[in-house]
């Protein structure tokens, strides 16, 4: 390639900006741009020429949550909304049974870095003795992409040949909805089946049952529900 040819340089710069220059050729141009100010200038010129197209669209007001998320991600850590995460009252609001449990949870979570994005939905699933075991969170972006994040506090005792399965209990509906299998320890991000997210936002309870390995064969819980908790939409 004769990059000294100004006509060719201009064309490559134009295709670079347009996006039709791909793969190895694109990477080569990027490397050359690092050393060649003339080439960088050619790319800038094309960006200026084509920028007018960005003006041909109508204005659309973005939702307030976008700005809130931007703020959360650009605020210095000390002043971030993570404070909410550490606040005892917040955990009491999740309707955990006892203050002692809420306190233990707040201290446990207080030891870790706050999540990058404020959660839009939170649930804490506890056992029959009100010991918290699973923390589920999803930011607004997570929900829009059908994701929920699950973290196990410590290790959930899991017998051999069994699996934990997570269920969503929509308000009023008879049937629990399967959301996926959970590991006995650590973290996992579940991708919800399409269309479930809307149910997620209208439900108020989540539960974990003990199923045969690989999950319920029937699509409904077949084993005992060991953990449950209320879903809080922030």
């Amino acid at each position: 390639m004769r990059y000294e040819d100004p006509k060719l340089r201009s064309l490559l710069a134009g295709e670079y900006v347009l996006g039709t220059l791909r793969g190895a050729a694109r990477r080569r141009l990027e490397r050359l741009m690092e050393q060649d100010p003339g080439l960088r200038e050619a790319v800038r010129s094309w960006e200026s020429r084509l920028a007018g197209l960005a003006e041909t669209v109508p204005e659309v007001a973005p939702p307030r949550s976008v700005w809130q998320n931007i703020e959360a991600q650009t605020e210095p850590a000390a002043r971030s909304r993570a404070f909410l995460w550490h606040c005892l009252g917040f955990w009491r609001g999740l309707a955990l049974v006892s203050t002692a449990v809420a306190l233990a949870l707040a201290l446990y979570l207080g030891l870790r870095p706050a999540p990058e994005l404020p959660p839009a939905s939170v649930a804490v699933l506890a056992d029959q003795a009100a010991q918290p075991r699973w923390v589920l969170t999803a930011s607004r972006i997570d929900l829009s992409r059908g994701r929920i994040r699950v973290e196990v506090l410590g290790t959930a005792p899991l017998p051999q040949d069994k699996s934990f399965e997570l269920w969503l209990l929509p308000k009023g509906a008879a049937k629990p909805i399967a959301l996926g299998l959970l590991p006995p320890t650590g973290k996992i991000t579940l991708t919800l089946p399409a269309g479930i997210v809307r149910s997620f936002e209208k439900a108020n309870t989540l539960a974990v049952s003990l199923e045969p390995q690989g999950g319920s064969p029937t699509g409904q819980p077949t084993g005992p529900v060991l953990y449950s908790g209320k879903l809080l939409v922030l």
């Binding site: 996006g19 197209l53 960005a54 003006e55 041909t56 669209v57 109508p58 700005w67």
Partner: protein, 174 residues
């Protein structure tokens, strides 16, 4: 305002910049991504990037609007390209969606001189050349994808892009 932002990490200036520019940039992201949730994500990531890289913006080298739009476009195209392949854009929708004029007369009055000049020059291009340029600008299509979309040979599409860009450049230099 961007320069001030860069120097001082001024959150007031950043908030003001967002208030002034976000609606247009959101509209732009929507045009590229066609889905609100993805456009919100692109806009959000773009502004976080803008905050973090404000120090790199050189006012003598580019207009702020150009820099902002380029960041939003890059984020949007990244998101578009990482989408699941089972979700392709519907062909007919896509053809209609290409803007080559301003949405309304008021927008035209408010638009920059550069934007108006660009649209006039685009207008003078043969239809096919204009089409492939707009398709790649707003949908990030490669030569091969363009060739498939317009059902023409790869070589033809490459020629249209090349000629279209050359004509635009000549026209804008006048």
């Amino acid at each position: 305002m961007l320069a001030q932002l860069a120097r001082s990490g001024d959150r007031e200036a950043f908030a003001r910049l967002y208030r002034l520019t976000a609606p247009k940039l959101f509209g732009f992201a929507l045009r590229i991504l066609r889905r609100r949730d993805l456009a919100e994500e692109a806009l959000q990531e773009a502004f976080v990037s803008i905050w973090r890289h404000a120090g790199e913006f050189k006012p003598e080298k580019a207009l702020p609007q150009t820099w902002l739009a380029a960041i939003v476009r890059n984020r949007a195209l990244d998101l578009l390209r990482s989408r699941r392949p089972e979700d392709p854009l519907d062909d007919d929708e896509q053809m209609e969606a290409l803007p080559s004029e301003f949405p309304d007369p008021l927008q035209k009055t408010l638009a920059s001189r550069e934007a108006r000049a660009l649209l006039e020059c685009l207008d003078q291009l043969p239809g096919k050349q204009r089409q492939v340029i707009l398709l790649s600008y707003f949908h990030g299509l490669s030569h091969a994808e363009l060739a498939q979309r317009v059902a023409e040979p790869l070589g033809t599409v490459k020629t249209w892009i090349r000629r279209g860009l050359e004509s635009l450049k000549r026209c804008l230099e006048k």
